[in-house]
């Protein structure tokens, strides 16, 4: 089990992948991290990030998300393993590797007495780029920070500080952007704005790796999803495939008359009664219509009708990524 990514790759993902896969933009090989305290934060992580994708890294608190990102970005030394950024080893060829990366850290940090404009300009210089005020103006405008450019950072709200960190990360026009919980503590409207910015970046060819605790964020944004738990990558999958594959669906019927039990005529279906017999629930796998014991919905409905059961209303529900995620993490514990 030292290569969890290999074990989870299913025929479904293999067949949907393009024939000649382009080189990954980030390649992580056997990465381990043991902190000085002796704590093993990463255990033999293998992961590939595809060029131009949005990759969401999910995992509970302390799973190792920030540690993983910190090693890639050069903030933390790995104990073992290798990271290639666009083919450049991030230790021996750190200049080439780091120049391609922009990082928005999880913690809000800022030079309190600097102005927005100066701090973003500083970031560009730090990454060895010639001053380009037009670019910085574009970045600030896209993040609705243009009006605040002369403000000292200490005068900004938390959400604005977060945006300043994003602007700083974009100042040197990186090809890869890491967002470590970019929307923590950000209100709904601003979160939508940020998603928009991220989508625009993706459209311009930037690869984005984000961590989040808002599953809806991953569901909304990501092309692929990785789940990390206890320092191990437990799953990497296309979001669509993941939702299809692991997502069971439920058909719920509100009955006109409560039932005491499921009639024998319907006993071969996986049916359950709920809410004191007034609700009939049918659980099925939407991704595989030929699964054992499964028939088309219309057949089921006909049989229910024939059994003399009348219903007022019906609806279906697909399990969310959140449920899938919680299930996965629990299974591993």
């Amino acid at each position: 089990m030292s290569h969890p990514t290999a074990t989870v790759s299913s025929p479904a993902t293999a067949s949907s992948a393009p024939a000649a896969e382009p080189a990954p933009v980030i390649e992580i090989i056997g990465l381990s991290k043991r902190y000085d305290s002796g704590f093993e934060a990463l255990k033999q992580v293998d992961l590939e990030i595809r060029r131009g994708e949005i990759f969401a890294l999910l995992g509970p608190n302390g799973a190792g998300k920030t540690t993983l990102i910190s090693i890639i970005c050069g903030l933390v030394n790995a104990s073992a393993g290798q990271v290639l950024v666009d083919g450049h080893d991030n230790v021996s060829a750190y200049r080439a590797a780091r120049a391609k990366i922009g990082l928005v850290p999880q913690e809000l940090t800022s030079d309190a007495f600097e102005t927005v404009w100066n701090t973003v300009r500083f970031s560009r210089g730090l990454f060895g780029r010639k001053p380009d005020d037009a670019h910085i103006e574009r970045v600030l405008k896209s993040l609705s920070l243009w009006d605040k450019r002369k403000n000292k950072l200490i005068t900004l709200s938390g959400g604005m500080k977060r945006r300043v960190l994003i602007a700083k990360a974009l100042a040197h026009e990186p090809e890869i952007l890491f967002l470590d919980e970019p929307t923590a503590g950000v209100d709904v409207a601003l979160r939508r704005d940020m998603w928009e910015v991220v989508r625009e970046l993706r459209a311009s060819g930037v690869t984005i790796i984000l961590t989040t605790h808002y599953i809806e964020e991953a569901e909304e944004m990501a092309d692929r999803i990785g789940v990390i738990n206890g320092g191990e990558i437990v799953l990497v999958r296309e979001k669509q495939a993941l939702m299809r594959q692991l997502g069971s669906k439920q058909l719920t019927l509100q009955l006109q008359q409560p039932l005491a039990s499921v009639p024998p005529a319907l006993s071969h279906y996986p049916l359950a009664l709920d809410e004191g017999g007034s609700v009939l629930v049918y659980t099925y796998d939407a991704s595989d219509p030929n699964a054992q014991g499964q028939v088309p919905i219309s057949t089921l409905l006909n049989d229910i009708e024939a059994a003399g059961i009348r219903f007022k209303d019906l609806h279906t529900k697909q399990s969310s990524l959140e449920e899938i995620f919680v299930k996965l993490v629990r299974e591993r514990q």
Partner: protein, 253 residues
């Protein structure tokens, strides 16, 4: 060489000094003036010439050294400690910069500041006493090398310190006593012979002595010894900085 980055750090640090101009320039000038009033005028009037130099003039090089050492250390240590403390250091550590470039930016800025400060104090001293500088080039060399060396020391302290207390501790407990006992305000000859021997173990003695020599041609120890000591400090500081970055000590967990 990522010159843009060196420039960015250097300018950032200089701008920080600009914002705190009062603290970084005016206060050392005021305290130096006070030294002159107390030591130069009040005490100096009772002390005769020291080796042919009036006492007021005699203490000028020592005073500049005192300021140079304390300001270099405090400037440089704060410059690196603060981003570490607030967390903004992440950006520097994730940038495509070599260790050497980071040191060049931070230590270069701190050393420039204290070297300028040294010159400002020299100008201030000129108001109080008649100054001659016998060896201006050597004077500048000592000034610049000391500024760089002790800025490096400050940089090391700033990385080592994980609290504000520790940041203050070394300057307070080590640098200041060593400078006061380093012959800033007296010639070593004035001490009993036992203490003369002890004093020679104080590295600051060599700096003050060499610096004073560049002014008046008089010294406690030979100029060559002073120069050698400056380079030894510089070498040791560079070695420690090199070790810090190689191991990631307190910077990269």
């Amino acid at each position: 060489m990522n010159l843009q980055a060196v420039r960015a750090i250097y300018c950032f640090e200089m701008a920080r000094a600009g914002r705190t101009l009062l603290q970084s320039l005016v206060s050392p000038v005021i305290s130096t003036s006070l030294y002159f009033v107390v030591f130069g005028a009040a005490i100096g009037s009772r002390i005769q010439e020291v080796e042919g130099v009036s006492y007021g003039a005699f203490i000028v090089p020592g005073l500049i050294m005192l300021m140079l050492l304390t300001q270099s250390v405090s400037n440089a240590s704060f410059g690196i400690f603060f981003p570490k403390f607030t967390g903004t250091i992440y950006e520097v550590m994730s940038a495509p910069i070599s260790y050497f470039e980071i040191v060049l930016g931070y230590v270069g800025a701190a050393a420039s500041k204290s070297a300028v400060l040294g010159l400002v104090i020299l100008g201030t001293a000129n108001f109080f006493v008649d100054l001659h500088i016998l060896h201006p080039f050597m004077m500048l060399l000592f000034l610049v090398l000391t500024a760089i060396t002790f800025s490096l020391l400050g940089f090391i302290i700033g990385i080592w310190a994980d609290s504000f207390e520790k940041l203050q501790l070394v300057p307070l407990l080590i640098i200041t006593p060593l400078t006061f006992l380093g012959g800033s305000f007296y010639s070593i000859d004035m001490l009993p012979s036992v203490w003369q021997a002890v004093t020679l173990a104080n590295p600051v003695v060599y700096l003050v002595s060499g610096f004073r020599w560049s002014f008046y041609g008089i010294s406690d120890v030979s100029v060559v010894a002073s120069l050698v000591m400056v380079f030894v400090f510089l070498g040791v500081s560079l070695a420690v900085v090199n070790w810090i970055f190689r191991t990631g000590y307190r910077l990269r967990p």
